[in-house]
Symmetry: C2
Subunit: 252 residues, 2 copies
Amino acid sequence: MATGRTHRPATRSRGIPEATVARLPLYLRALTALSERSVPTVSSEELAAAAGVNSAKLRKDFSYLGSYGTRGVGYDVEYLVYQISRELGLTQDWPVVIVGIGNLGAALANYGGFASRGFRVAALIDADPAMAGKPVAGIPVQHTDELEKIIQDNGVSIGVIATPAGAAQPVCDRLVAAGVTSILNFAPTVLNVPDGVDVRKVDLSIELQILAFHEQRKAGEEAAADGALPTAARAGSADQGPDGDVPAVMPA
Amino acid sequence: MATGRTHRPATRSRGIPEATVARLPLYLRALTALSERSVPTVSSEELAAAAGVNSAKLRKDFSYLGSYGTRGVGYDVEYLVYQISRELGLTQDWPVVIVGIGNLGAALANYGGFASRGFRVAALIDADPAMAGKPVAGIPVQHTDELEKIIQDNGVSIGVIATPAGAAQPVCDRLVAAGVTSILNFAPTVLNVPDGVDVRKVDLSIELQILAFHEQRKAGEEAAADGALPTAARAGSADQGPDGDVPAVMPA
DNA sequence: CTATGTGAAACGTTTCACAGCC
DNA sequence: GGCTGTGAAACGTTTCACATAG
């Protein structure tokens, strides 16, 4: 649904499906784990299991990147790590700003996963003057007044919004005006952005509501099925639903 | 991709598409805002704009719930709030446990959005004995040893995992064994669960990587387009990508 | 003989366009 | 006259099944 305009064919293999892009980080994580254990090669079957998807999907996904496997053998772990990293743009590192250093913002700042893969917290920004100068996760919090300067000085193109809902849109507008073109939004609001700016959202309450829906349905079915399967069958392991939600992106 | 087994037709209008379910919370949020401003009715056009989707999609979504609108007029706000709440199972309230009270767990415990819509934090659980008894967000942290007892005593069916990656699977296993059937996973791992257990995941690092992919592509296109559109056109407001990711659910 | 890579089928979701009702 | 509700078309994603290469 949300694959950029594709202004033109560009280099060559343009057009990796959005659903595939959303799964690449999963593959990368599984591959990194294998790499740390010095595993040289994996089959699509093994890697798929580690990433929580089925092997046909994985092979199809990789086929969009090129032919990086060896028939009869599998994939070279190191090589694939590199190829996927490159495809995702993780060979360069991205300076990121976090705006809104409350509980959540602080948790994000402390989150190790940031640094581990190509992202660097360039600055923490908060509207509370009392926070200014205080270090969070070893980084001093700066005041919102500095926002534009910080973005420009650091060449930041990715912003994380962890403010209360009411502050999110104004912050978003300022980020975009200052040059940010990708936003990860934790505030429970719909953000309005110009064309060419991507927004992804993470909303705890929405996730819980979706779980509640299925939970309710289970309860209903149990009642409906009556004396039949009382506690339901327990076995096997479910596929994790690969993507982190495909359609939350709003490309150019 | 992940709609339950549908053991049988059940009552009647079974089979709301997963993509629609994922958007219902968005509509609900927009409707709640309208309700607070005492707006009596909305058109699909207005509500869609508030929820960040297009009106055709919204109407199709609502058509799965029934015919709750009035042609030529629109939808009754209060009535729709009720119908969607009921559909999502939010008319009852769900006790939830949060396991792993680090930075993120604490942030989640403090998150207001929990209580606001049918969810109640029944307990906070952490493996660190030093945390035991300490109140976080007004709720005393309990030790992991108590996990099974807490789940059973409170009839908890939804668990939130905010532990480090290494602890997530064991915690998940214990939650499931104790009776939890829906899990919201913040740990960067694939969780293995038996059939009948839903897992949704929220992964910051994955979201950032997806943004980086598009960001990189933008940079490439700009370079490719050369002297042409230098800073790119800025105008209009993008649609927010309704769902929080449809496929992360693993129903029965 | 094994495991990748990929057309083609099946499925799910979104968009279109308009009939139907208020 | 205006807005909902919905078949049908268009599109994207997943799954199947097998030709192909090592």
